[in-house]
């Protein structure tokens, strides 16, 4: 039992990261139906911005978090304006290929500027272990989990209760109608990219802090996992992405903890496929039948 609880804590910490990255994926998808393959690389850039801010400027964890989120928001919007905006009306696969191009560019660019190797993220937040019986939780795990929850609550509030959130929802349902109703569609899309990228940036800093190892290709796998998390919960649905992120984190941990890590990815994919077959639009998604 102790071990199970311990594994759940491990799983939720890992899941927090996936969930944060998945949120950005799902928001961008929700609004312009683009699989933003470069999203994982934004997360990587977030980690590098955090790295530079803490090592070169000597700032602490929270300033690093904020600067990194702001930096990523800016990068996200720039990418959207340069690479995706001209393709608003192109096919989805074309936009996907563009996103892949952006992803290559960011990865190779970072390799070139920052070096291909692993960098050690400084330990900017003292790490202590708290024991609950035999179950141990580190302060870092608590920080990661709480930052994730706070950001998610803030995001939910933003989307559901504010004017800009309403605009985002309007654009995601029907951009043309939204435009007619006086919503500035371009600005709303850019704003969505900014928010999604900022969340990825936060995830990057948290990962840097938690694992203290960052490298230019670190975004590839979490990017895919986060995408899976988003699809799992029903892509375009914000609570779905959170659910998916936590679920995948926990499943990976449990498979590795009770069976073998050789099969953890395979199990995640298999569960995903089963979910999609049973609920083709994801766990929280509504299956919309095409109108004939």
């Amino acid at each position: 039992m102790t071990q199970f609880l311990q594994q759940m804590i491990n799983g939720l910490s890992l899941g927090s990261i996936y969930a944060l990255v998945a949120l950005g994926y799902t928001m961008v998808y929700g609004i312009i139906k683009l699989i933003n393959f470069a999203h994982g690389d934004i997360y990587m850039l977030g980690a590098y911005i955090g790295f530079i801010v803490t090592t070169k400027l000597g700032l602490g964890f929270f300033p690093a978090l904020v600067i990194s989120m702001a930096g990523c928001a800016l990068i996200g919007v720039t990418i959207e304006r340069i690479a995706y905006k001209p393709l608003r009306n192109a096919t989805r696969i074309t936009a996907l290929i563009t996103a892949i191009g952006v992803s290559y560019f960011l990865e190779a660019g970072t390799q070139r500027v920052m070096g291909a190797g692993v960098q050690t993220f400084p330990n900017v937040l003292a790490n202590e272990t708290i024991m609950f019986g035999d179950v141990r939780i580190s302060t870092q795990q608590i920080v990661i989990f709480s930052v994730t929850i706070v950001l998610m609550v803030a995001l939910t509030f933003l989307v559901n209760k504010t004017k800009v959130g309403r605009a985002m929802r309007a654009v995601s349902v029907d951009p043309d109608a939204a435009r007619l109703m006086g919503v500035n569609v371009d600005a709303t899309i850019s704003f969505t990219f900014a928010i999604g990228s900022a969340l990825a940036g936060a995830a990057g800093v948290l990962v840097g802090l938690y694992y203290n190892s960052i490298n230019p290709l670190m975004g590839m796998l979490p990017g895919i996992k986060a995408f899976i998390a988003a699809v799992f919960g029903g892509i375009g649905i914000i609570p779905g992405a959170m659910l998916g992120g936590f679920f995948i984190g926990v499943v990976e941990t449990l498979v590795a903890g009770y069976w073998s890590s050789l099969w953890k990815d395979a199990v995640v994919y298999l569960i995903l496929i089963v979910i999609l077959i049973v609920k083709p639009a994801g766990l929280l998604g509504k299956n919309v039948k095409e109108k004939v």
Binding site: R92, I93, L272
Partner: protein, 320 residues
């Protein structure tokens, strides 16, 4: 027989023989050296991969991101065959056949549940299946796990050339038949296709299985030509690379796949000298090309001799 001897077909035959002869001459004259010969083989294998995925994505309209999964089946079928059973060219042929049979079977298993999904959901499900195939191979004994297989060279560029020819003929002939039209109708409008009596599920599966089998041929040839196969060479990134070739050339255009496979390989070779910026340039090139030509280099157009003649005539007309 007579039917077959149409002017268009004869012209194509002529072109195939001519290019084979020219390549042979260039190689024996040393103009195409070993480096370019390797590039040529890469191009050939990429063409086979691209047209096989084009059959699934471009012609049938099913967004698959798991194509590397079938390439790896072909590669390991051939690899294990060469390593443990039959060596040399016969081994390659047996490996190709084994790969096609296995990948057809696996494709069926993958296709039946997943092809009910649409668009991005299908993409992620196929990506998942591709990875599962890879992980299974990674954890098998006979495949030597992560270390992969070191293989003797058993495939020459001649073999690859003819494989490209055969695979292209298969895809083109399939595409230009009633069955191919049925696949296209699925891409264009699934509901209308069903209403016209087309079993859309069956055609989706058919295209998927056929594409998978052809991809496994490419994998088998790769194993025989490039000395080493390892599971981590066939991750979803490989599927994405193939997808890039298809979209870059134009979805649905076989000629486009030829051109894009060739251009990408050549670009890669040219940029070799600037290794540290190569991927940066490649990434940017993708973005720029997609921004300017969102439907790829050729869109859905094909190069045909009749089309060429038409263009020539028009050109003449304009000149006069």
């Amino acid at each position: 027989m007579k039917n077959w001897m149409k002017k268009e077909n004869l012209l194509w035959l002529g072109l195939i023989v001519l290019s084979y002869a020219v390549l042979n001459i260039l190689i024996s004259a040393g103009i195409i050296n070993n480096v370019y010969k390797t590039v040529l083989m890469t191009i050939g294998i990429n063409i086979i991969l691209a047209i096989s995925l084009n059959l699934i994505i471009g012609i049938t309209g099913q967004f698959s991101l798991g194509h590397a999964g079938f390439m790896i089946i072909g590669a390991y079928s051939c690899g294990v065959m060469l390593k443990s059973f039959v060596s040399g060219v016969p081994g390659v042929f047996l490996g190709i056949i084994a790969g096609m049979v296995i990948s057809a079977f696996v494709a069926l298993v993958v296709a039946i549940p997943t092809l009910r999904l649409r668009g991005d959901y299908l993409a992620i499900a196929t990506l998942g299946f591709g990875e599962i195939i890879r992980i299974v191979i990674l954890n098998m004994k006979i495949t030597n796990g992560a270390a992969g297989l070191i293989l003797p060279k058993a495939v020459s560029w001649h073999m690859i050339f003819w494989a490209v020819v055969i695979c292209t003929i298969v895809v083109v002939n399939f595409g230009r038949s009633a069955h191919g039209r049925a696949c296209i109708s699925v891409r264009e409008d699934e509901i209308a296709a069903e209403a016209m009596g087309i079993n859309t599920t069956q055609y989706k599966i058919l295209a998927f299985v056929l594409g998978a089998m052809i991809a496994s041929v490419a994998g088998a040839l790769y194993a025989g030509a490039f000395y080493v196969i390892k599971p981590d060479m066939f991750t979803y990134s490989k599927s994405i690379d193939i997808l890039v070739l298809v979209v870059f050339g134009g979805m649905g255009s076989i000629t486009g796949s030829f051109i894009s496979s060739t251009l990408v390989s050549l670009l890669n070779t040219v940029l070799q000298q600037f290794s540290s910026v190569r991927m940066i340039v490649y990434g940017l090139a993708l973005v720029v090309i997609m921004v300017f030509r969102p439907s790829g280099l050729l869109g859905r157009k094909e190069l045909t001799f009749s089309g060429l003649l038409k263009v020539l005539k028009k050109g003449k007309g304009a000149a006069q």
